[in-house]
Amino acid sequence: MDARLSILIAEDNAADRMLLSSIISRQGHRVLTASNGLEAVAMFDQEQPDLVLMDALMPVMDGFEAARRIKLKAGEALVPIIFLTSLTEGEALVRCLEAGGDDFLAKPYNRVILDAKIKAMDRLRRLQATVLEQRDLIARHNEHLLNEQRVAKAVFDKVAHSGCLNAPNIRYLQSPFAVFNGDLLLAAFKPSGGMHVLLGDFTGHGLPAAIGAMPLAEVFYGMTAKGYSLSEILREVNAKLKRILPVGVFCCATLLNLSFQRRIVEVWNGGLPDGYVHRIATGERLPLVSRHLPLGVLEPSDFNDACEIYPMELGDRVFLLSDGVLETSNPAEQLFGESRLLNVFAANRQPDLLFDEIQQALSAFRGKAQDDVSMVQVCLVEAESLPRPPLAFADSGQSSPLDWAASFEFRAQTLKRFNPLPFLLQLLLEVQGLRLQGGALYSVLAELYSNALEHGVLGLDSQLKCDAPGFAHYYRERTRRLAELDQGYVRFHLQLLPEASGGRLVIKVEDSGTGFDVQQVLERQRTAQSLSGRGLGLIRRLTERSTWAADGRGVSVEFSWNDQA
């Protein structure tokens, strides 16, 4: 440590000035001198001394004024000022300190005390310098960190917000840097026109929490776009997070699969607070309870992808929230909690205002603005009312295969655990001309397949779904029968035919079931507003031609395209 300081002596008495100078230079310091306050200030400007010994009473400018000016010029750095004074009454000494003095030394000078005071002041000066240096370092680091977060967030936004959070039927609230709270909200259109939504909450805060969000978002969007089901996406996400996240880091999440055509929502909740399906007609709110461990905890072999299915009507809403809402605390450290949330629900009269009412309740409770809360509300609307983005393709489509046929038979063991739709869709979308109709194609394939599987192979009667309890029964039964399935098949025959200016696709689907009365089902659909059998009408609307075999065990649909179009 360099103990040599440069010390400014401001003293109008020449004898005192010389005495002090000699004491101080003998102690090894560099000496600067001034004979009044004005000179002292000028000398300070010129030489930037480390410490000032200041006589209180001087001509031209006294020590008090000089001390004030020097302290002002020194800014944040500590330049200790020791007043030299023969004044003894308390009031005068207080004036020294008020003018910015750090200490005083009574005349006549005692060199031992002078030396000790200079050393003590030097320690303070160094402490202050260290504090400033560390403060600046922390500020630089913090700025660096914020900058990194901005860049990371920009990258993250590209990945996470590539979906359809801005669709008119979605309302959400998320703090701008929610990703660094570990919160994640994703939404994407399925090729069939429905929607997948994910609200997630990673353990912890900051970068470790944000880091798992990227692969999760990639899997969610990639697989949704390719037509994979919610269960398949869940399995993949869980396996991926389990593989890459350290033990103890996981993601509480609720996933939704909304089918606007079929008017159902499929729900999987692992570790998030209850969400709700709000039925507008009755005002009823069905809780969507967490039934699973969070994502990234269980090995793939132990993972449970079982979803619950609820029927919805037009205008019904699904509401999800992160635990930040319930864990909002007030100054007395009470939590907002579920009962207060339920009170807000109960008091709500206009569903459209619910969001604002929750926000108001939270800020009233907390007493200040809220920044770590995520909420989302999705409304069931007519599929046609939503803008459907075209499917995205990576290749040019120039090498389009045009003249081929293929048949597939998926048998019991396969039907139990394999979803053939993404596979078939991918194959068909190799055909350039079909890409524009990719969404319709997928919707139709999905309907045909679930009809063949559920009503054909599994022998489920769609009339079961005439009311909500029957609806639940239907899906329980579907799960049970599928698990026990040991025979049966669904066949797809695909036929691609080139035509003069385009082409045509014929899809035939057959199943091993007993068939159904086509006329009767179509008739029932025209008349009844039931929860069942919306599929056939949809197929008719979306395809150019659709015909059912007389025995109801097979169906044939056609799509065609025109290159000039």
């Binding site: 909450d201 353990t203 912890g204 805060h205 033990v247 103890g248 880091v249 996981f250 509480c252 692992g270 570790g271 998030l272 607070p273 967490s290 039934r291 699973h292 461990l293 969070p294 905890v297 635990d323 864990e327």
Partner: protein, 101 residues
């Protein structure tokens, strides 16, 4: 926040007692409570009697303990959970991984 751990007299069981908030601030102390012991317990008991609050990073820490204690073969009981703590454990379905008493 104070975390103490106490072996049973036969050295088969380690009881970890968590007082106050069980959150990320308890991270190091919680790890120390089962890593800095000179025997290998067969069973672990996490006593949450005086735990006032438990957040998701505490759940992560419990998973770390479970991993340390042998993963799927770990024998860990969470005892004396109050209603709030029990609710948080229930939402995360931790009863599938721990014995909650």
């Amino acid at each position: 926040m104070a975390i103490t751990s106490l072996p049973s007299s036969d050295g088969q069981e380690l009881t970890i007692r968590i007082q106050g908030r069980f959150d990320f601030g308890a991270h190091q102390a919680f790890r120390d409570s089962y890593e800095r012991i000179n025997f290998t317990p067969k069973r672990y008991v996490v006593d949450l009697d005086h735990t006032t609050y438990l957040d998701s990073s505490a759940l992560g820490m419990l998973l770390l303990l479970r991993d340390h204690a042998g993963g799927d073969h770990a024998q860990i009981s969470l005892v004396n959970c109050n209603a709030d703590v029990r609710k948080i454990l229930a939402i995360s379905n931790f009863e599938q991984l721990f014995k909650i008493i």
